[in-house]
Amino acid sequence: MPSKPLLNHAMRIGILAMVASLSSGGSLLARDDDEDDQGRPPQVLKQGFESTDQLLGDIERAERGPKHSAWIVESSRFVNVPHRSFQPDVGDPAFVDLPVNLGIIKAPNGDLTLYDSGWKQLAYIFDWNTSCCWHGIRDQMRAIGLNPDHVVRIIIGHGHWDHSGQLSEFPDAVLYVQKEELKQIDFFLDYPVRFNGGHIRAVNTVDPITGNQVGPPAQACARSPVCGYPPQTVQEILGKVLAGKAQIVDGRHEVAPGMIIHPAFRGHTYGSQLLQVNTARGQLVFGSDTYSSWTGIRDWFVANIQQTDTIQQFLAYEKCYVLTSKQNSFNNCISAHEPISYTAGYPITSNWWNIPGGNCSRAAELTLANGERTHVPPSPDRTPPASCHSVVPPHAIHP
C-alpha cells in the first residue's frame, strides 16, 4: 500500500495537472463561425445562437410577409415504444405510439412547402411489427386536397431516415438542409477508427442476430453519433445536390417572405433546424425531432435524446416561446412525435381526421389563410386508432 506522503504528493501533482489543463484550453477552442459579434469567446462547436431581440425582430419581419395555411400529416407511426426511452422524465403510460408528423405549408400563390418528408423504408418498418399506418406523402396530399406537384421546397428538420425519406418523390422541389447536419455525419464516420480503437461503431452497433448492444462502452445505434443516416437517405440528399435542387444552409435563413429557418444545433442532431411560419394564428414553429414532444415543450421535459445536447434542446424550446410570444405561445410549437397528436390534448392538432384511403394515417388542419377553404371533409372519419385497420404496403423483399 502506498505511504501517506506518497499519496499526498500524487494528489498535489493531480491538482496541478488539472489546473494546468483548465488554464490552457486553447487547443480545444475552434474558430466561432456563428454570426455573433457580441464579443463572446470562441466556441468549440457552432451554437446557432440567436438572441431574444433577434428572434423578436424575426416576428416583425415575418409579419410583414404573407400569412400561410398549414396542415400536418402522419407519415407513419411507431407503435408500443417504451415511454421512458422517448421521455425519460415521463413514464405513464408505460408504452406509447409515436406518430411521425410532417408539415405542409401553403403560400398565397399556391406554392407548397414540406417540413420533413417522412420515410420510405418499408421492409424495415413493416416486416417485424415495429410500426403501422405508412402511406406515401403524394397520395396523402391528394387525399386531403393538396396537389403534390405544387411542392416547391422541402425543409428537413434533420436528416434522420424517418424524417428525410421520400425526397426523390419530389424531383422539382428544392431541399433545405443545414451544412452542420452533413458535416456531423461525415466527421463521425471516422469516429471508431480515430478515437476508440474501433470499439464503437458509428454504423452498426447492434448484434446482427439478437439486436443487443455491442462494443464497449455499451451504446446502441440510437445513441451513437451517426446512427439514423442509412446510405439510402444520404444518397437522396446527394441526388438533390447533384440536380442543383439543394440549398445547404448555414444557420438562420429566410426561405421566403413569412418563412424563416432557425438553427437548433444539437437540439436533436448537430444540424437540426426549426421553421417559423407566419399565419393567422401568429407564428407557428415547426421543430421536427427537436420538438419531438409538445408536452415536453409545455412542461420543460427533454424528449427523444439522440445526438442531442439537452441544454440546446431547451434553448430551442425557448426559441419557440419567444417566436410565439405575441400569440398562442407554446401552443404554436409543432411537434413531430407528440403521442397525443390528433387529440384535443394537443389543441392545435385537434381538428383531425383519418386520411381517406390513407392506411389509418391521420391529418390535422392547423390554420387557414388567404381565403383557403377547409380541407377537413364534411363528415370526417375520426375512427380512433385502436379501431382502424392498417395494412402492410407492398415492398421489394418480404420475409
Binding site: R77, F78, N80, F95, V96, D97, Q121, A123, Y124, I125, D127, W128, N129, T130, C132, C133, W161, D162, H163, S168, K179, L182, I185, D186, L189, V203, N204, V206, P208, I209, G211, C221, A222, C227, G228, Y229, P230, P231, Q232, V234, Q235, L238, G239, V241, L242, I248, D289, N304, Q306, P339, A386, S387, C388, H389, S390, V391, V392, I397, H398, P399
Partner: protein, 197 residues
C-alpha cells in the same frame, strides 16, 4: 379486532389465533408480496404489445426462428454490410462537399478510390460466403447492390481523367438503386439496425 355482526365459532377463533402468531404473520406477508409481484408481472406482460391506442394491423409475419446456417450467414454478412455502408456514406458526402466547394477535387478522388477498393473487397468476401438456400435471393440481391456501387464509383472516377464533373450525375442512379437494395435486405436481416429516431 373483532368485526361486529360476525358470529364466529370456536374453531374459527382458534384458527384466527393461530394465524395471528408472529411467524405465521411474516410468512403470510411474504406469500402475499410474492403473489402481488406475480400478478403485477403477468399484468405488465399482458399489456406489452396490446396498447389500447395502437391501430389494428392485419396479421403480419413475425420473424421466423433462424436456422443455424441462416444465422451464420447473417453474422458473416454483418461486417461486410458495415464496410459497404461506411464507404457509401463517405463517397456520397464527398460528392456533396465537393459540389459545395467544401472538399477539394483531390480529396474527393481519394474517397472514391477508397470506396472502390472497399467495394471490391466486399465483393470478394461475398463470393466466399455460402448462403443457405433460403437466403440465396437476398445474397444475390446484396451482391448485385455491391456491383452497382462498384460501377457507380468507377463512373465517378472518370471525372479525374477527363475532368468532367457530370460523371457524378451518370453514376448517381446506380448508387441510389444499390442503396435501396441494401436497405431492403438490411431491413430483413437487421431490423434493429436503425431504431426509431
Amino acid at each position: 379486532m373483532i368485526f361486529k355482526g360476525v358470529k364466529r365459532t370456536p374453531i374459527v377463533l382458534s384458527l384466527m389465533a393461530g394465524l395471528l402468531r408472529p411467524k405465521a404473520l411474516i410468512l403470510g406477508a411474504v406469500l402475499a408480496s410474492l403473489a402481488g409481484l406475480v400478478a403485477f408481472a403477468i399484468n405488465r406482460e399482458a399489456g406489452i404489445g396490446s396498447s389500447p391506442t395502437s391501430a389494428q394491423r392485419t396479421a403480419e409475419p413475425r420473424r421466423p426462428a433462424l436456422t443455424a446456417a441462416e444465422e451464420q450467414y447473417i453474422r458473416e454478412l454483418w461486417p461486410i454490410h458495415g464496410a459497404v455502408e461506411r464507404s457509401t456514406l463517405r463517397m456520397s458526402l464527398g460528392q456533396i462537399f465537393y459540389t459545395t466547394q467544401d472538399l477539394s477535387r483531390a480529396e474527393l478522388g481519394t474517397r472514391v478510390k477508397e470506396a472502390l477498393v472497399s467495394y471490391q473487397a466486399a465483393e470478394t468476401r461475398l463470393h466466399a460466403l455460402e448462403p443457405p438456400t433460403s437466403l440465396r435471393s437476398e445474397h444475390l440481391e446484396y451482391l448485385s447492390a455491391v456491383g452497382l456501387f462498384k460501377e457507380s464509383a468507377a463512373e465517378v472516377l472518370k471525372m479525374f481523367t477527363d475532368g468532367r464533373d457530370d460523371h457524378m450525375l451518370v453514376a448517381y442512379p446506380k448508387g441510389q438503386e444499390a442503396s435501396n437494395k441494401i436497405r431492403e435486405v438490411g431491413g430483413k436481416f437487421w431490423p434493429h439496425e436503425f431504431p426509431p429516431n
